[in-house]
């Protein structure tokens, strides 16, 4: 079957496809709240291919997929693999609203979703988009959720019941009378889901619904989805990069790569063969990596969660006897370990939990771990030098709200400081003071020893590169090449911002890039070298940079033809043209698959080490914090709650709870094992799989 409807197609009244009731006359609408029909039909995708208009390659190729009622399926894969396209097709929006050529079929029971108008398809398959802001039309939550049923001309009583039921099912009842612009990101996402549910779909498709949420907000949304699946038997297709967080909640996992389904298995079986994941460049969840690293213990099904992994490890005699205390004294080369109880080495270097002392440098070294490794210690050793930035007791009110409340922080040269906290804790505002977005009401901010003046953003950009979370808004040019040369062009032109000469703009790609390379190299590496040599310095060639950014061969392409992850990498690449000493990274891994995110972060790490850059990273990605940050500052309520190495901070359950943070899987696993061993909580935890395995394996030998 082939359908091509570039502009969408209107069905004449009374000529709806067979088996379809006119909207507004749905039997569902006549049922009382709480007794809405559960999903009964399977969503069956057969040999589905889709090619966007004007493109030469298929975005989806021969996709086969079945989702049963009461089943939650995770669809994941690298950026640009076709996940979002699949969501549009499943929801009946492509090709009716997104021009393209579709082959194959999407059937809900016997009904062909692709042949329905979106209004009708929306009552069968509901789609929740990534950005909740674009899905909320109304100022009040209640009106937002009622919007769909109102369009169906349902009676008032039914609309009210649907609003009640949708809010209840998403745990958003308390938000009913709230104004949408006052909601947090997680709340907005739940309202968007509730508004979709009010259409009473049988299938719910969510396109990266967790991307902007803090870990606690993400878990809230996931629990809501579980409830919908279990109580309403809703079929759920969850498209996500954050496999670690999602895995324990889903029934099946589908891996897409290059528009094709390369794996479709039950969650418990999805990682039995790592081949497809590695080939697609998607990292295995950390609990899976632990299980695969300890085949002698994980002899049954692979664990899907920290709880499951901890249960298996705790049941292992060897682990319980000793290995449940990774980093125990006998394996510590630093000799800081407490005697017994599995406490770890860094007890002697307490985390600064007192906000009044929070500006003090954190302990120089992380915990000593098994095998003599000190995760975080090597990274942290770069810190403790001169201050790259100092926030001294800053307070700030915006719009009548106290956003910052006496926050103090010292950012040391050469360190990678992660600033973490729940949505709305003041992270971005605090970082924004470093470039002069605002001036504090109280306190002071110094960058590189100089006070920051409000409004001097361009001047500060010479020293501080700020990658906004909305990286799309940082792209202004017609091509990737032009983006990379935008900063140098305007800086070279002086403060007037004059356009470069036409000849300059038309100059060869290599020449333009040399400007950018020159900027980086001149500032950090090649100060004394003539400009002509810079392009051949070998530090960063155009192709290398584009390759690291994952943009090789795309120099002439418009930034708007790139995927979101690609655009984000481009925005950061363009910022580097300013040769900043300090980079502020606001959610640098958002929207990127694990493979690209890791490549990008590793590149950042190399860049930092090579050129002595300092990073301040605002993030909800705790795995990135664990892996890359040398120090962590935890924010809550506009204050710095604690600072310390990642290993120490992620051991502080009190701080994490107060700040709405969930530690990365390995850290939680360590804490669970310590708890199951009856030991007091460790002062520092393992952060990466390898060090955890290194700590556990020696204890398994006797077993």
């Amino acid at each position: 079957m082939t359908v091509q409807r570039p502009g969408g197609q209107q069905f004449p009244a009374g000529q709806l496809p067979a088996g379809q009731l006119p909207a507004g006359q749905l039997p569902a609408g006549q049922l009382p709240a709480g007794q809405l029909p559960a999903g009964q039909r399977r969503l069956v995708v057969t040999d589905l291919s889709f090619r966007y208009a004007g493109q030469s390659r298929n975005a989806l190729s021969h996709v086969n997929l079945t989702v049963a009622p009461g089943e939650m399926v995770l669809v994941t894969g690298p950026s640009g693999c076709g996940k979002s396209t699949l969501s549009l097709v499943l929801a009946g929006l492509a090709p009716s609203r997104v021009a393209g050529r579709l082959a194959g079929s999407v059937l809900l029971g016997e009904e062909n979703i692709s042949s329905l108008e979106p209004a009708q398809a929306g009552q069968r398959v509901g789609l929740v988009f990534q950005n909740p802001n674009l899905q909320l039309f109304h100022q009040m939550v209640e009106a937002e959720i009622a919007f769909g049923p109102e369009n169906l001309r349902l009676p008032r009583q039914i609309i009210s019941e649907r609003v009640d039921a949708s809010l209840r099912r998403t745990g958003a009842t308390a938000l009913r009378k709230a104004a949408t612009f006052t909601l947090s990101g997680g709340e907005k996402q739940r309202v968007a889901i509730a508004a979709t549910l009010a259409m009473e779909p049988e299938v719910l498709v969510l396109d990266e619904p967790l991307s902007d949420l803090d870990p606690v907000g993400a878990q809230d949304v996931l629990r809501s989805l579980e409830a919908l699946r279990d109580e309403r038997r809703l079929a759920i297709v969850l498209i996500e990069h954050r496999v670690d967080e999602v895995l324990e909640h889903v029934d099946r996992v589908v891996l897409l790569d290059d528009g094709r389904v390369v794996l479709d298995r039950p969650a418990a079986d999805a990682f039995a063969d790592a081949g497809p994941w590695l080939a697609a460049g998607v990292a295995l969840p950390e609990v899976i990596q632990v299980a695969r690293g300890l085949p002698e213990i994980f002899t049954g099904a692979l664990p899907l969660s920290v709880t499951q992994a901890a249960a298996v490890l705790a049941a292992s005699p060897g682990v319980v006897a000793g290995a449940a205390r990774p980093g125990a004294p006998e394996h510590s080369t630093a000799g800081h370990g407490a005697a017994g109880g599995g406490r770890m080495a860094a007890e002697s270097a307490p985390v600064t939990g007192d906000p009044a002392q929070a500006e003090e440098p954190g302990p120089p070294d992380g915990p000593a771990l098994a095998g003599g490794q000190t995760p975080g210690g090597e990274r942290a050793s770069r810190a403790g030098e001169a201050a790259a930035g100092v926030w001294a007791g800053v307070s700030l009110s915006l719009g009548g709200r106290q956003v910052l409340d006496g926050a103090s922080l010292v950012l040391h040269q050469g360190e990678w400081l992660a600033l973490i906290g729940a949505n709305g804790s003041g992270k971005t505002t605090l970082a924004g003071l470093a470039v002069g977005f605002e001036a504090p009401d109280r306190g002071s901010v110094e960058i590189g020893g100089a006070a920051v003046r409000k409004g001097s953003v361009a001047a500060q950009a010479e020293r501080v590169g700020f990658l906004l979370q909305a990286a799309d808004e940082m792209l202004f040019c017609n091509s990737v090449d032009d983006e990379l040369t935008f900063g140098p062009r305007y800086r070279r032109a002086g403060v007037s911002g004059a356009e470069p000469a036409a000849a300059g703009r038309r100059s060869a790609k290599r020449t333009r890039l040399r400007i950018m390379i020159g900027s980086i190299s001149q500032a950090h590496v090649l100060k004394d070298r003539p400009n002509d040599e810079i392009g051949h310095s070998g530090e960063l060639s155009q192709d290398e940079l584009l390759a690291v950014l994952g943009l090789q061969g795309l120099g002439a392409r418009s930034p708007w033809q790139l995927s979101q992850g690609q655009r984000q990498r481009l925005a950061l690449g363009a910022l580097l043209a300013g040769a900043p000493d300090l980079l502020i990274l606001d959610e640098p891994t958002t929207g990127q698959d694990t493979g690209h995110a890791r490549a990008f972060m590793t590149w950042l790490e190399q860049l930092r080490e090579r050129h002595g850059l300092t990073y301040l990273m605002i993030t909800h990605d705790m795995r990135a914090v664990a892996r890359y940050a040398s120090r962590v500052a935890v924010m809550a309520g506009g204050r710095i709650l604690a600072t310390g190495t990642p290993a120490e901070i992620f051991a502080r359950t009190d701080v994490l709870t107060e700040s709405g943070i969930i530690a990365p899987p390995i850290a939680r696993l360590h804490l669970r094992l310590a708890a199951s061993a009856g030991a007091p909580p460790p002062a520092a935890v393992h952060l990466d799989v390898q060090s955890f395995l290194d700590a556990v394996r020696p204890r398994l030998a006797p077993v």
Binding site: L93, P155, R156
Partner: protein
């Protein structure tokens, strides 16, 4: 000093240039500085409260808005000022926050000063009399012989008319949830699409303003200098104006593209939620007439009758050209 400013060509020229250029140069800066894009966003946002004004029939409020708009044109300036004074009373009932009141005052005063100034300079007295200040020949190129009382009075009238409409519009915007407005529009006979367009515009205007702020920040973060010179750095101002002007096409691209991409998603969401499936919609909230509504309808009827009489029998009505 006084003789220098009023009796010499140089002094008179300085005074004239100050009068001509201070307002157009300073006012926009003051407006942007004190209100800014964020201020406009806050100014237009619905203020959820439980007041009589909030509970009134939204149809009544929309009709009232239209009636006041028409009367601001038809009435002579004395009754128009009385009507303007009457429209201030509901603000006391609303009791907006100090922050919003400050924004409102700036929002009202800045355009008023601009209109007063422009009419005083360029609405010339027909008989050539009544100038408060005559400009010397050195200022002739700006196109006005001086500052005239005639134009200033006319400017005051126009300010009253504009403020009357603006005050009423803001009052309705701040006290009426967009959903209620959509309901009112449809119950006044307009198709749902009009209500939806209105709804989307009001909902996404603040978003657009936020994005504009964000994009301007992004431009600066990429090294484009948009910092304002100090008022006394006269030589830097032309360069600043040039930089701002050149920035417009730069920020327009991401704003437009972002808006279009957002609009595409919004359109798909609206489609998926069955918008446009039927010619008429049902509503969760249906307004029921209250005593307050009846009283308000009666007051508006009185207002209309009075205005019609004024126009019909030419008392308090606006004379042609007046």
């Amino acid at each position: 000093m006084a003789h220098f400013l009023t009796g010499t060509l140089l002094g008179r020229s300085i005074v004239a240039y100050v009068i001509v250029f201070v307002v157009p140069l300073v006012l926009p800066v003051v407006f942007i500085k004190l209100i800014g894009l964020g201020g406009i966003r806050d100014l237009l946002a619905y203020e959820p409260k439980d007041t009589v004004l909030h509970r009134l029939d939204p149809r009544l409020k929309l009709i009232y808005l239209g009636v006041v708009g028409i009367l601001s044109v038809l009435l002579g300036w004395q009754p128009m000022l009385i009507l303007f004074a009457l429209t201030i009373i509901p603000w006391a009932l609303l009791r907006p926050s100090w922050q919003r009141t400050r924004l409102l005052l700036i929002f009202f005063v800045a355009p008023s000063v601009a209109m007063f100034w422009s009419q005083g300079l360029y609405n010339l007295p027909p008989n050539g009399q009544g100038y408060l200040i005559h400009f010397p020949w050195t200022v002739a190129w700006v196109g006005t012989p001086g500052l005239a009382k005639y134009g200033m009075i006319y400017g005051l009238e126009q300010i009253g008319r504009v403020l009357l409409a603006v005050s009423t519009s803001l009052l309705v915007l701040l006290t009426t949830d967009v959903t209620d407005m959509t309901w009112a529009l449809e119950h006044l006979g307009l198709p749902p699409r009009v209500g939806f367009a209105f709804n989307a515009a009001l909902r996404f205007l603040p978003e657009m303003l936020s994005r504009t702020t964000l994009v301007l920040r992004a431009v600066e973060l990429r090294g484009y200098d948009l910092s304002r010179p100090r008022w006394y750095q006269v030589g830097d101002w032309p360069d600043y104006v040039r930089r701002v002007t050149r920035c417009v096409p730069i920020v327009t691209v991401p704003l437009l593209i972002g808006s279009l991409r957002g609009t595409t998603t919004m359109a798909m969401v609206a489609d998926a939620r069955a918008f446009g499936l039927h010619k008429r919609r049902t509503y969760l909230r249906e307004h029921r007439q209250t005593r307050a509504d009846i009283a308000a309808w009666a007051l508006m009827a009185l207002l209309l009758i009075g205005a019609a009489a004024a126009v019909r029998w030419h008392f308090w009505a606006r004379p042609y050209g007046g």
